[in-house]
Each structure stands twice: as C-alpha cells, then as structure tokens.
C-alpha cells in the first residue's frame, strides 16, 4: 500500500498556505457540475456538507438518524479549543499545536496538528457568527475555561452542551443549503457499500431504513464522516446506540487503509454501571474535574458512606501521584489510575467499580450557586440516572470507552488510500495520535469540515480525470448484489440469539482483554474469543421481520456483523504495537512508576492495515512519523 502523506515541505507555519496555493482550483462555474456525497451529519459531515454547498458543489448528504441534528456530536459536553489567547495567559497557535501533539504521545503528524491549531481560531469566529450561544463574561465578550489537562484557558463552551450547540450551528448551515437546493438531504439511510470505478470512489449503496429499499447514489467524490467505533466496547462506552463502524469498515473492505485501530480513548468521568441490562454508560464532562476532587478510601474494602470517611482516611490519589496536574491529569492517566485503585479493592459503590468525585470543597469555596452555574445540568443528569444528589454526596465515576483516535488512514488532504474517498472527523485517524486532549474533538471535526475539505476536495476534483459514471454502472449493480446477499445471509441463519446480545458479549470481551490495560496473553485470548463469537453469530443469530420494511433488528445485526470483524483488527493492531503510548497501554511496556513507555526508535509510526480478502490476515504497513520541529519527550504530569 502506498502511504504518501503528502505533507508539504517548508516551515511548519507555512505548510498549509503552501498546500492551499499548490492545490488546483475548480472554477466557480464548474463547481455545480461536481456531485459530492457526504455520509454522516455530525460536526464534520454537516459542516463539510454546508461548506461544500456554499462553494457551489452539488451535495448529497446521508445520515442514519431521522434528522441530521441527532448525530452523536451532540453529546460532547465540555467545549472546543482554540488558540485565541483571550485570557492573555500565554497561549498561542504553537502552544496549542505542541500540547495536542504531546497529548497524543507523539503519534500524530506535525503538519496535520499544526494546521488544526491554525484553523482553530477561524472556527470560533465562524461559530459565533452562526449564533452559537457560547458562554460570555459580563462585558459581553467570550468566556474561556481550562479543560482536560491544559494549563491555559483556551476552551470555549456553552454550558455543558457545547457539542449540541455547535452541531445545531452546522445543522442550521446545512438546512440553509438544503433550502437553497444545494444539498439533497437523505436521512434514515445507512451506507452499506462504497462503489469504486477505475479505482476511484464514485458512489455508495445505501439502505433506506424506512422502506428497506436498497438505493444507489453516484458522485464524483465520497466524503465519510461517520464517526468512531467506540461501540465495539458496548456497553462500556459513551457512544450513542446507533454509532457504528459499518461505513468505515465497508470502505476498508474496498481497499481503504485502516490506521491505528487500537488507539481508543477511555474517558475517566462516566456514571458507573448498575446492571447487566444497561445499554451504555453516560459520560459526564471532565470539566467536572476542574472543581471536583477524585478520591478513594485508603482502606481497601471500606464500606462506610463517603460522608462518614474522615479526611485523613481518604486517598486523593491523583493529587498525590501527580502534584502539578492533580485532578486535571490527562484522560488516560486518570482512567488507568482509577482502574488501578479499583483493582486494589479500593473501588466504591455497589459494584466496586467506581471512585468518588467530590465537590464538597468546591461548594464550600465557591458556593453552591456557582457550582450550579458551572455544572448544573451535569449534576441534574447524574441525579436523574443514579437517584443520588451530588450536592450532598460525592459523585461516583468510572471510565468508559469514549473516542476513537484510530480510523481510516488519510493523507494531509484528508483523502484515504482510495482516490476520491475523503474521511473527516472521528472517522479518520489523523490529528490526535495515541490520545486526544479534551475539547479537541469538536475542534477537529469542524476544522476538517469547514476549513480543510473545501480546499482539498477541489484540488482532487480539478486535478483528476473523472469519467462519466451513473447509477446504472456495473459496479453499482455488483455492489448492490453483494449488499443484498449479505442481508439475505443474515436472515437465513435462523438461530436463537438476538444481535444485541452478541454486541454486548463482544463489548465484554473487548473491555476485558483490549481495554484500558492490555497484555499479550489477554489480547491473544481476546482475539480467539472474538473469532469464536463471530462464528456463533453466523450460526445462531435470529432476525425478525424482513428487509423490505422498517427493521431495527436488521440494522443492528448488520452493524454487529461489522463490529465482529473489526474487533479482531483492533486486537491485531494492539498486539503489533510493541510499546505503550497514549491510550494504548501494554503492561509489558511500562516504566517503574507504571507509566506508559514509548519506543520511539521502533514504533514511531502510524500502523496501517489493508484488507486482504475474506479469511486472510490483513496486510500491515507503516507510515513513519517524522518530527522536524518538536523534540520527543516523555510525558510527565508529575
């Protein structure tokens, strides 16, 4: 597989300028002749659809939900980073770049990350102009807060629902283009295959989820913005129930390289599990860690109520082990530390799989009203779910899978290894390395959609010979037949277990053997268990109804089938990465202080996997990561 990242040469600061100059332009009159398919309407997909339509391209946008406003970007709570330096506390584009690449444990490209930091400020300008109701100071100017391990206050926020507000901004821009006739919006459609003609991505096959009809859609380029694959850990995940790897997986099977699938982020502040029937975990913004103090009882097995445990019998372990960052230590460190405490029997709550997040000190210092203003909706949510009042008693939290840094491999132009297939947002792998910093996902999704793809897709369309292709092309017919065949196979199993039960089993395997802390023996075992489960799935699935109708069980089964194949790739990738870095923690590679130990000599690369056909091991390739501008240092948050 050719892995040319196409990073322009020259100083870091001018790479993006240079690229924008070197990319060919599509003349204004010609833009309307190009049809572009966008799959997914989260921050990346909706912003890309809007921005491309504004330029004059004919866009067809697809989503699996009933309306584009539902994408799981809405669930992001904390905020969005930008290098505005409004608080005058020493931030800069360079610092945001450096923090992001260091946060990613030096497993991302310098060029991509620097560009992300550069466009971050444009995003805030644009979002404010769209009417996003960001938090403001009394003088009417924008407020900032420090977030998720940053030592500067660079995070813009809209109470606890920044993702929701940003997505509604994209959705409104998208709606405007739908009204203008530039975007054809097709909700309740699920992409089931990517169609290639002459090696170029030229369309997709989708299932109309209302009628069950299989539809073909042709275009000059295809943009995937289909989110991450955290549901491979379901129920130990905060992902929405519908989030799935299907579209990315089908693209992989058509030849798109999959990069770093083992880089999955575990979020430290989720509401703990309460029973087997639980469908997923609920995330609470880690902005809570700004004012909450994490602790466990010093004594393992301490059964007292938290209020009854005196101060000197509490272990504020993050503050103790990481004195300079304390409760704001990065996500992976905070998550593993919580697991470590629970594994020692110091976990609290009914399951012993939880630690306290205590606001008593903050309430005393700032007053209840201020805490309510900052976290009111999060506290309310917690109380609703657990039936406990966090103003009175400490919250309980536990980590859960949250975000996928890995994804389809893309070059600097966000194009995958398939020409004409672009991948944006969480679905690609590009900017977060082995670990994503808080408030950076929203930034990346919008950067990709608003400010990168509009340039780079033009460069591709203007510089590529694209023949006339329509929906009656043989490639569409073949793809549709394959899709139908796969659906029919699912119906013919006629076993006795539901798709949902397989998904939960898969999640348990992945969480146990490929979760926060991994080792080779466990990974090998997990891989075998996944293979066994997959076999059982194809022998024992039961699927009600038929394909020609609204059939949520079929949707689920199709997605679970993909997850069962994909999970094995995650484990293979985890086995192949002979180091610990960021969120990938292999117990064989750790410092004496139990911190992740990178191997920059051997492992400073992007791991890319290429599909080699049914029953064959995927082909492994490396994209070396070259650091010209920053020095690789060991992360230390002590």
């Amino acid at each position: 597989m050719q892995l040319d990242a196409k990073i322009p040469g020259g100083p870091l600061e001018t790479k993006w300028d240079r690229q924008r100059f070197e990319l060919k332009l599509v003349s204004p009159a010609n833009k309307r002749k190009f049809h572009i398919i966008v799959v997914g309407t989260g921050l990346a997909g909706a912003s890309a659809s809007a921005a491309l339509a504004e330029l004059g391209y004919q866009v067809k946008t697809f989503c699996i939900q009933d309306t584009p406003r539902r994408a799981h970007s809405i669930a992001a709570q904390g905020g969005i980073n930008a290098a505005k330096n409004y608080p005058n506390d020493g931030d800069s584009i360079w610092r945001l770049f450096y923090d992001t690449i260091k946060g990613g444990d030096f497993r991302a490209r310098e060029g991509n990350v620097y560009r992300l930091a550069q466009v971050s400020n444009l995003i805030i300008d644009h979002c404010v102009a769209q009417g996003i109701p960001f938090a403001r100071e009394y003088g009417g100017l924008l407020a900032n807060r420090s977030f998720g391990g940053a030592q500067v206050s660079r995070t813009f926020y809209a109470k606890g629902q920044t993702g929701q507000q940003l997505l509604l901004g994209c959705y409104s821009a998208l709606s405007r283009q739908v009204a203008a006739g530039q975007v054809t919006m097709l909700p309740r459609r699920e992409m089931l295959d990517l169609v290639l003609v002459n090696g170029q991505a030229r369309g997709i096959v989708v299932r109309n989820l209302i009628t069950g009809a299989i539809e073909r859609h042709a275009a000059h380029a295809v943009v995937l913005a289909t989110g991450g694959y955290g549901n491979v850990f379901q129920p130990f995940t905060t992902n929405g129930m519908g989030s799935n790897v299907g579209a990315a997986w089908r693209a992989y099977k058509r030849g798109a390289g999959f990069a770093n699938p083992c880089f999955t982020q575990i979020h430290p502040t989720c509401i703990p599990m309460h029973g087997d029937y639980q469908s997923k975990l609920t995330l609470m913004s880690e902005s809570l860690r700004n004012d909450g103090r994490v602790w466990v009882p010093k004594q393992a097995g301490d059964q007292r109520r938290p209020e009854d445990i005196p101060e000197d019998e509490r272990d504020y372990y993050l503050e103790r082990i990481y004195p300079s960052f304390g409760n704001l230590s990065p996500r992976d460190i905070a998550s593993r530390a919580a697991k470590f405490q629970c594994d020692q029997g110091k976990g609290v709550g009914a399951t012993g799989r939880a630690v306290y997040l205590d606001f008593a000190a903050a309430i005393k210092r700032l007053g209840r009203a201020e805490i309510e203003a900052r976290y009111g909706n999060l506290f309310q949510m917690y109380e609703k779910i657990t039936g406990e009042d966090p103003y009175q008693t400490p919250m309980m939290i536990y980590p859960a899978s949250h975000y996928a840094m890995g994804g389809l491999w893309v070059d600097y132009n966000l194009m995958s290894t398939i020409p004409g297939l672009f991948v944006l947002g969480e679905a690609n792998f590009s900017d977060h390395g082995a670990n994503r910093l808080g408030a950076s996902a929203l930034m990346q999704g919008l950067a990709d959609g608003y400010f990168i793809i509009p340039y780079t897709i033009g460069g591709y369309l203007a510089g590529t010979a694209l023949g006339e292709v329509n929906e009656s092309h043989q490639a569409f017919t073949d793809a549709e037949m394959e899709v139908n065949a796969k659906i029919n196979r699912l119906f013919q199993i006629r076993g006795s277990r539901s798709a949902a039960s397989f998904q939960i089993d898969l999640g348990h395997i992945m969480w146990e053997y490929c979760g926060m802390s991994r080792n080779d023996a466990g990974l090998q075992k997990g891989k075998q268990l996944v293979a066994d489960l997959r076999q059982e799935f194809w022998e024992n699935l039961t699927l009600p109804g038929s394909t020609g109708e609204f059939n949520q069980s079929l949707e689920k089964a199709s997605r679970v089938a993909d997850f069962l194949e994909f999970a094995e790739l995650v484990i293979s990738d985890a086995l192949a990465r002979r180091e610990s870095c960021g969120c990938h923690f292999n117990e064989a590679f750790q410092t004496e202080e139990k911190e992740a130990k990178r191997d920059d000599a051997q492992m400073c690369h992007v791991a890319v996997w290429e599909y080699a056909g049914e029953g064959h091991e995927p082909i492994f390739a490396k994209e070396p990561l070259v650091f010209e501008f920053v020095k690789l240092v060991e992360r230390s948050y002590k």
Partner: protein, 272 residues
C-alpha cells in the same frame, strides 16, 4: 442502585406502517430492574420478543443521554413520561410501581406520521428550520469572534432557547398539535443575538408560514408544551415569536412567503 425489580403490564401501540390502522397490544413485562431506564426496559422486552420469534417494538433512540432528541413516546398520556424535564431515555423505572399498567403511544400529530409502532417521522421540524432557522453566513466570512459583544443576559436567554433538542414533545403534548414552542425556541435563540437581527423579520415570517403549511395546529396557550419540554423551554419564547412575527409583518418590507399548496412532501413516507 438497588437490585429491585418490578412487574409491569404494558399496553403498547403497534402499527406495521403508515397505512396500517394500528392497535394496542398488551405485554407482560416481568422482573424489570428499577434502576433501568425506560428504553432499557423496552430493550429487555424486545430481547424477549426476538428470542420468542416475535416482532420487537420499534422505537427511535440514539444517545440515551437525554440530548439527541431522537427518543420519545407518550407514556400514560404524557410525552416522555411523568417526570419533569426528562427525555424517555432518562426516565427511570424507579418512578413506577410494581403492578403498574403503562400505556405507550407514539407522538401523535398530522405532521408526524407514524413509521412503525412508536417511531414517527419528524422531518416537518427540519422543514421549518430550512425555511429560516439559520443565520446566513458562509464559511470564511465571519468577523473576529470578540468584535461583537453580546450582553450576558441576552446570551443566556438565547442559550436557554437554543437548548431545544427538536424531539417534538411540545407538538405531542399540545392539545392542538401545535409546533409553536419549537418554532419560538429557534426564533428566540436567533432574535436575541445581534448576529441574528439582520434576518429576524424574514426568518419569523418564513418559519411561521412553513409551520402552518405543514399542518401543525395553532397555539391556544394551554402551556402543555412548556410542562412537557424536556429542556424546560417556556412560553415566554412563544410571546417573543408573536412579537417578532407581528413586527415583521407590519413594519418590515419582508413579505410572508407563499409555499406551494398541497400535501407537504415532508409528510410523504420515504420521500427524498
């Protein structure tokens, strides 16, 4: 976090498709953990139905964190159930008693045709946003973010209105199936911000005209919408919409757009 369980009788609206008449079917839901959410309760029931070879109950859902707006059904006569400011996914079974009978119906409105069982088509709400629920700014045009101060109180009122998740509970709750709370939330959000003022008149006229065309009812100030809104959006927004509308109609040069007559395409099943 108690391991308690309860037994329930569910009377669920089952309807194969938009043309089907639909009917209530009774299910016995035993051993439901009280810590489960309402949707997890339906998951448990569906799991049993699937294993028995029956058709599971169709219902929309996604984030299960009360923010995406996709879930929703009428539980014993109340959209999203009996709890205040709660979506169905955040309604927990600890609020029900052992032996309760729960009647579950889809959101009912002419503008929200039933797709299957409890899943309804709410694209009419998208249509209203498309009519004008945006600020016309192209990517790249924006001025420096802090060049436009917004009074904190206005920003907060705008935020409160912008918290609308588009679930449609206001329509479902309204005895007239009116979408006024939904429309007013978007109108208010944008009208309260200086960025939204240039298009305020055009927006108010267009969104109201589109709302009317789609077959929603009229607001008669029952306040049911604000009682059932999972985000606590209140009817002062409707009053603001009324002001914005009449101001636009009487004092701005903008005309009320005339949308094509006939059955709105948003109401046609499976249409593009």
């Amino acid at each position: 976090m108690s391991p308690e369980t309860i037994n329930l009788t569910l009377k669920v609206w089952r309807q194969h498709g938009p043309e089907d008449q639909g009917r209530f079917i009774t299910y016995q839901a035993n051993d439901i953990p009280t810590a489960a959410s309402f949707l997890e309760m339906l998951d448990i029931v569906n799991e049993r139905l699937i294993v028995e070879g029956q058709d599971p109950i169709a219902f929309d859902h996604d984030c299960r964190e009360g923010i995406c707006g996709m879930c929703g059904a009428v539980i014993n006569g109340r959209p999203h159930g009996p709890e205040k400011e709660t979506t169905l996914c955040q309604l927990h079974m600890r609020g029900f008693q052992d032996g309760d009978t729960i009647v579950i119906e889809p959101f009912r409105a002419r503008a929200f045709p039933v797709i299957k069982d409890l899943a309804v088509d709410r694209r009419a709400l998208d249509k209203i946003i498309q009519a004008g629920g945006f600020i016309s700014v192209n990517t790249g045009q924006a001025p420096e973010a802090n060049s436009l101060p917004v009074p904190k109180s206005n920003a907060e009122l705008a935020f409160d209105a912008a918290t609308c998740i588009g679930c449609g509970a206001c329509v479902a709750a309204c005895p007239n199936a009116s979408a006024m709370l939904f429309v007013s939330a978007k109108i208010s959000h944008l009208a309260l911000l200086p960025q939204g003022r240039p298009e305020a008149a055009k927006r108010a006229l267009a969104m109201v005209a589109e709302m009317d065309r789609l077959g929603f009812g009229n607001c008669t100030n029952h306040k049911e919408c604000q009682v059932e809104c999972p985000k606590g959006i209140n009817i002062t927004n409707i009053a603001r919409l009324n002001r914005e509308f009449i101001k636009a109609a009487v004092s701005s040069p903008e005309e009320i757009p005339v949308f094509p007559a006939g059955r709105p395409e948003a109401l046609q099943m499976g249409a593009k």
